[in-house]
């Protein structure tokens, strides 16, 4: 187990930075998710931690010791990849034993660990069969198992490990991972572009966007107070409404309509926007007039798409809510955010 620290890490694959300067510490025993869209640099960051990629600049420290020049093998890290990697020539049990064997673990310990992991991933009955005949699901379980088999690793890194897994199994494996983390408190970093996966797995979610960390927080923090419009937009379904507005003291103006703010934000110039989640908008007879463009039924609720002074917005309405003939939208007090150049100012 170790505290993993990134010290001004930057990485370039040739032109431009895939990772702009990142300094962040993953605390010992924490469960982290790296969340972001494809190409935001999250896999690069993971590979820098495990040593598969050497950062162009900056240092990686494990418990304060600089490991940047160390090879992957010497960092004692476990990593599970997006697509199953299995050793065709070996049986399921041999696959699981491989990382231990390579490090010269005693036979008794290998047997004990392999047994435990087999039980954990539910493949006891296939232990002696060749791994290559298995389904993609089972192969990925073996990959996961190989990631979990060593007990003394500094951290376990997951790179979208459940992509190829069947949806119903996904839930099960994810909660197993979560349970494992609770039990053994190993440092785990889980890369995903799926917000549900990130929010259910992690205590702390690190949201990345275009090679930068835009916010680190608990799932609740990310939902309630997104620091960047991207976080608001990326987390939540549908994402936060981002509405261009003119700010004047403690008043925002959208499409000629004034909205009262809690207090006057400090403006530094640049583009100003309001951010409010669809959950914090109420459709009724009070507030700003809107025109409804489309209504989506998502089962337990309805998503009302409307036009507010020329800006498209989404409103989450209860399933049985009535849509008035002249609809107006009200903002839940205290939930309105003000963004200057995409960063939260209020």
């Amino acid at each position: 187990m170790a505290r993993i620290e990134l010290d001004r890490v930057r990485h370039s694959y040739g032109s431009g930075y895939a990772l702009k300067e990142i300094s962040h510490a993953f605390e010992d025993g924490g469960a982290y998710a790296l969340l972001g869209p494809s190409g935001c640099g999250k896999t690069t960051l993971l590979n820098i931690i495990s040593g598969l990629v050497a950062p162009s600049e900056g240092r990686v420290l494990f418990d304060g010791a600089d490991v940047t020049p160390l090879a992957t093998r010497d960092r004692n890290i476990a990593q599970v990849f997006q697509f199953p990697v299995i050793y065709d020539t070996m049986t399921v049990a041999e696959n699981l034993a491989f990382p231990l064997k390579n490090r010269g673990a005693p036979k008794a310990e290998i047997d004990r660990r392999v047994e435990e992991i087999l039980r954990l991933i539910g493949l006891e009955h296939r232990a002696r069969s060749k791994a290559r005949g298995l389904t993609a699901d089972d192969k990925q379980k073996i990959s996961l198992g190989r990631g979990l088999v060593r007990e003394d690793v500094n951290a376990i890194l997951f790179d979208e490990p459940l992509t190829v897994i069947d949806p119903h199994l996904k839930w099960k494996l994810r909660s197993q991972l979560k349970a494992l983390h609770r039990e053994f408190r190993r440092t785990m970093v889980y890369v995903t572009h799926d917000q549900t996966e990130a929010l259910t797995f992690a205590d702390k979610v690190v949201v990345m966007f275009e090679g930068e960390i835009v916010q680190i927080g608990t799932p609740a923090e990310l939902f309630e107070t997104p620091r960047h419009t991207f976080v608001g937009y990326f987390i939540g379904s549908p994402g936060m409404n981002v509405i261009p507005a003119r700010i004047d003291g403690a008043t925002a103006t959208v499409g000629g309509q004034a909205i009262k703010l809690d207090r006057a934000p400090t403006l530094t110039g640049g583009k100003t926007e309001l951010g409010i989640r669809p959950e914090h908008l109420t459709l009724g007879l009070t507030g700003l007039p809107v025109s409804i463009t489309r209504i989506e039924d998502i089962g337990r609720a309805r998503i009302v798409h409307a036009d507010l002074g020329g800006n498209p917005i989404a409103i989450r309405a209860p399933e049985d809510a009535e849509i008035p003939a002249e609809p107006k939208v009200a903002f839940t007090p205290g939930k309105l955010g003000v963004y200057v150049d995409s960063w939260r100012a209020l």
Binding site: L52, A71, T72, A78, Q79, F81, Q82, F98, R146, G147
Partner: protein, 288 residues
Amino acid sequence: MDKPWNNKAWWLVAPMLALVAFSAVIPLMTVVNYSVQDTFGNNQFFWAGLEWYEQVLSSERFREALLRNLLFSAIILAIEVPLGVFIALNMPKKGPGVSVCLVLMALPLLIPWNVVGTIWQVFGRNDIGLLGWSLKSLGVDYNYVSDPLDAWGTVIAMDVWHWTSLVVLLCYAGLVSIPDAYYQAAKIDGASRWAVFRHIQLPKMKRVLMIAVLLRFMDSFMIYTEPFVVTGGGPGNSTTFLSIDLVKMATGQFDLGPAAAMSLVYFLIILLLSWVFYTVMTNHDAQR
């Protein structure tokens, strides 16, 4: 049950059938025909039955040539397959070096066989050839024209130079198809270089390697042009392979019957050995 029978489709296959018939089946049948008859010229043929086959199989000359062929193929496979795998493993996987390496590797394969023979024939001469002259200058007693061992060495070196590339290119194709994640996982799992080769690269190369072994076996077993150009089967009969002997018999001595019988036996041996190779390798594959 009323499956419509449309025989028109045969017309689509017909050109191909005709082509195969004229290029393979009919010539083969002619050979079969010759192999069971005797002729004294004037287009007069007499039924000979299996006499030629008996003669071929019991002839010392045939057996010696066959042994030479087997030895030659064994040496060729023992050198070219490991060497080819080794070169493929060490070729760059990306960057500008890739095309340079590929072109260099493909070059020997593009040279006509008799030209390869001529190149080595000159290369090995100890009066004007670079190899022969250099060896002589270094005090090595090398003369492929008079020494059987030198002749074998030259023919083998020539084949290795000519054909290892084929093994390299096939293995390389197998290697580049391995996703990066495998190598990354191996690093994470702390696998040694040998373990990576044994458990990742070799299994992924197995199919192409099998094709490489088969092709190299068949081709080396049928080798004719290059040794014919370099040594002409000599010194003595030391590099007279089955194919060289066959041509001598058919066109030199004009013994059509024995030559036909010998070529059929030759063909069946290649077929049988290829089949054995294939079966052994695929069975091995299935057990894993």
